[in-house]
Subunit: 230 residues, 2 copies
């Protein structure tokens, strides 16, 4: 018997939503068509094919019909759901890339030492960062592209503040690990020049010293990303 066509997925899901798992439910092809965004004729065809494939059972009396999902049909939906669930939950929530240490003073270095930020770092990250930032130059385009999408995710949000004269923007921190050893945070600044080929890190430690790395050393970075939807 034929496989479940992906185009029939919505139709099957709709029957399930109407309570057709164990009981025959009354569904007209017109209403089904509307629900799945297709014509009445297409809905009719969908039902015919689903019946032929053994995914639903129909009872027609006069011009009305009752529909019920078969065990096979339900298993099919469950299987797909399990597959998707596993894929989604098992997908590693990390971004890994390589780059080289660069000295170019990160724009964040100065600001990150301001009290308005350090106070928040202490409470939200649990430490006051070592003064200065570590700058990593990313060579491969695919890495910088991937990093530029980071802004879509939450991270740890450091709020903007004002010192009376001017305001300083928010900072998003993403838990990272350099060379599989040093814990640190990648920082995304609200006010930045959007050059994603250089990324900045803050850490409790002096990363350069701790790793005994210097200018142009290659480093491997792993960034953890948490989803913000349930």
């Amino acid at each position: 018997m034929a496989d479940l066509k992906t185009q029939h997925l919505l139709t099957l899901a709709h029957i399930l939503s109407k309570g057709g798992k164990h009981n025959f439910v009354n569904i007209t092809t017109t209403s089904l068509g509307k629900e799945i965004g297709k014509s009445q004729q297409s809905a009719s065809l969908h039902l015919k094919e689903l019946e032929l494939g053994g995914f639903i059972e129909r009872i027609q009396s006069g011009r009305k019909q009752s529909i019920k999902i078969t065990h096979k049909g339900f298993v099919e939906l469950s299987t797909l759901n399990n597959l998707l669930s596993k894929l989604i939950s098992k997908s590693p929530n990390s971004l890994t890339f390589t780059g080289t240490i660069t000295s170019g003073m990160g724009e964040g270095a100065y600001y990150m030492s301001m009290k308005g930020y350090t106070k928040q770092f202490k409470s939200k990250l649990g430490y006051i960062p070592y003064p200065g930032t570590l700058n990593v130059q990313i060579k491969e385009k695919k890495f910088s592209e991937a990093i530029s999408q980071l802004s879509n995710y939450e991270g740890t949000k450091i709020s903007p503040f004002s010192d009376g004269k001017r305001t300083f923007g928010w900072v998003k921190c993403f838990k990272s690990k350099i060379n599989n050893k040093i814990d640190c945070e990648l920082i995304l600044l609200e006010r930045t020049h959007h050059d994603t080929t250089i990324v900045e890190f803050i850490s409790k430690y002096n990363i350069r010293k701790s790793l005994k790395i210097s200018e142009k050393s290659n480093v491997k970075v792993k960034i953890s990303i948490l989803d913000n939807f349930s």
Copy 2:
């Protein structure tokens, strides 16, 4: 921007399975085509359309490409998954129907009083059934059709046994409720005449007396069905 087409679902899922949630992964159109059961050309087109719709991002270098799912693409998959999950878990696991009491001795009545069965009823259901079975005649075809699919589900399994001379088949019990009051079990027998217009019930109580019902009374039955997959 266009919606995610259902035909692209498998493609997106495959990219996710390759680790493309946050990192760019190398996927050839040939391998993708094989995975989704389509041609290399179709795979190529899928990627083009997914990119156009903002669901994936591609980086092409020479004749190879790296692919990454966008935040939008991942949300789309998650949303669909959540929808399916809810539908599947919220679908009521019960079958409801109406029928009339009938006196025709159920075939099970005699056998259900045998020690080989009663011992198991006691341990698996927690009670020894009142002698005899209640027989309900089902009038509407849609109900008998729905019941005939019950055999695909597990229920409480009473094992076959032998008394030395002959063997007696298994019995499957499904927790039921008659007229929203009396707890009982619908029984499916391994050796039965497969007439699904009459169903039999066993109960701790004398159902007729308890409900003060007699021949040809109408009853409403609700059968609970448990899934046997995770």
